[in-house]
Symmetry: C2
Subunit: 306 residues, 2 copies
């Protein structure tokens, strides 16, 4: 290690001293701790095999980007995303919805994947019926966790969660319907907005609602980051490293799936992801210092390698 | 037609002048109308195939017993289960959760059924991936419908719904784990309480919460009716008519599934269903005339032929 690196001088661009990797590490640690407690609580109920499979699915790693967006968005609007707060409950619920979608997405009848985050998928590690039930149960568990404290303020967030979850399913169905035929650019954008954009967007808006009771103008930030995230995901599938990603790459091409990079080219797709990120940053600029983490996450969404 | 039948003298037992078939017909008509509107709303969104499959699943008939229990329970406690009210929204949400569970239950990886209510199951009429997504989407849609109006009172009902849905999944998992091995009577009762009892129970308790903001002592009624309903279901599978039921009979025996009738005999199982019904009726007796429909439903649960 050079002296410069040790002293931190070269540790990031001058305009962004915020350590996003450290932030994400801290959020994951916290989210994983809570998910572990939720899974342990499930394991006190029967049957054990379902509870173990739920734990296996929930604690399989992952960047916990959606929870990070919820907490950072809450902070950005002056909220305190402390332990047991509404923002944290929403963050965990959103991650459970995301996790359920991965479990079902991997099923033989869907994407038929054997590997997820470097481990056997749930239907491989257990069986297909258990994987169906793990997904179903995680969706219920998400709503139960969010609503279980009896806090009436959770109603608006649960409605947002349900809406995002439904749009995600519509996106999956668009994706399945698209296999084997050529989508237009508009169709690809519609698919992206639903399949991935809906939950990313719900994360940003949900953090704002948890902090202030309203979306407070963050809807476009959610939409832009959702778009940027999915373009980055498609670029990583084309150009990324399977080991770093913990999943197969080149899947979209192999499945004949149209993505934005496949339609407009890698460079143009990269430019559009950057532009979407910049538009989100422009909306966040007036929020000043409290939005520092959210702005760093917006940049991470497009620059990430995993 | 004899004169006596035409004049209605023989149309029911003297102690129960309440026309439960007519009540159920009116509830189904109302529930079907609302579900049709919900499905039509989905069909304004894309993709069309998912929306059509959701409509196919939602409007496949069914007794609408759970919605009837919600509305009757609400009435029993002096509530007005009018159009667009909280009880009606909960009733529809509960029926959507029930419908999703049937769609997933019929999947090849689960019970592998080709027929449901006399029609091809969703994965037969469409395909397996669509059936997974229809179930997933219906669960989200249930919560969205219940919470979508922004009524904070919906939070408690959505928590109840989530809890019932999760217990139902645990019951399904217990059921799958039980195949091929002999369950004890306690295990069978546990399985029944979770797999079917949870939603039946949620229906009764949810109606009370919609009417008064609290379960108002109706939890035991929900539990007893859930037990009675499942025993009746198992008896119909053993002795019922496939045409009237719209599904295969003798399934449990063929699959080697332990049921209460298979463990204790048909007569004893029938006696226990009757006793559970009587216990529910005893709790409901002090509620008087407003609980007439709920008491008639309690009797229907054990006397039904479909």
């Amino acid at each position: 290690m050079t002296h410069a690196a040790a002293s931190g001088i070269d540790s990031g661009p001058v305009t962004s001293p915020f350590d996003i990797e450290d932030y994400l590490r801290r959020v994951s640690g916290r989210v994983d701790g809570h998910l572990r407690r939720i899974a342990a609580d499930q394991k006190r109920q029967r049957p054990a095999r379902l509870a173990e499979a739920i734990e296996y699915a929930l604690l399989g790693g992952g960047k916990r980007l959606r929870p990070a967006l919820v907490l950072a968005s809450c902070e950005a609007l002056g909220g305190d995303p402390g332990d047991d707060g509404l923002a944290l409950r929403f963050a965990l619920a959103l991650e459970m919805i995301h996790t359920y979608s991965l479990v079902h997405d991997d099923l033989p009848a869907m994407d038929d994947d054997d590997l997820r985050r470097g481990r056997p998928t749930v239907h491989k590690a257990y069986d297909e019926a258990t994987a169906v039930l793990v997904g179903d149960g995680l969706q219920s568990l998400a709503f139960r966790h969010l609503l279980g404290t009896g806090d009436p303020r959770a109603a608006a967030l649960a409605a947002l969660l349900a809406d995002g979850a439904l749009r995600m399913v519509q996106g999956q169905a668009l994706d399945i319907g698209a296999e084997g035929r050529k989508l237009t650019e508009d169709e690809v954008l519609e698919l992206m907005a639903a399949k991935t954009g809906a939950l990313i967007s719900a994360a940003v808006v949900g953090g704002a609602i948890a902090a202030t009771g309203s979306p407070r103008g963050l809807e476009p930030v959610g939409r832009k980051l959702g778009l940027a995230f999915q373009i980055a995901d498609d670029l990583l599938d084309l150009t990324g490293d399977a080991a770093a990603l913990g999943k197969r790459v080149g899947k979209d091409q192999a499945a004949g799936k149209a993505t934005l990079p496949s339609l407009v080219g890698v460079d143009e797709a990269r430019r559009r992801a950057g532009a979407a990120c910049d538009e989100a940053l422009a909306v966040l600029a007036p929020l000043g210092a409290p939005a520092e983490a959210l702005r760093a996450l917006a940049r991470f969404v497009v620059t990430r390698k995993r």
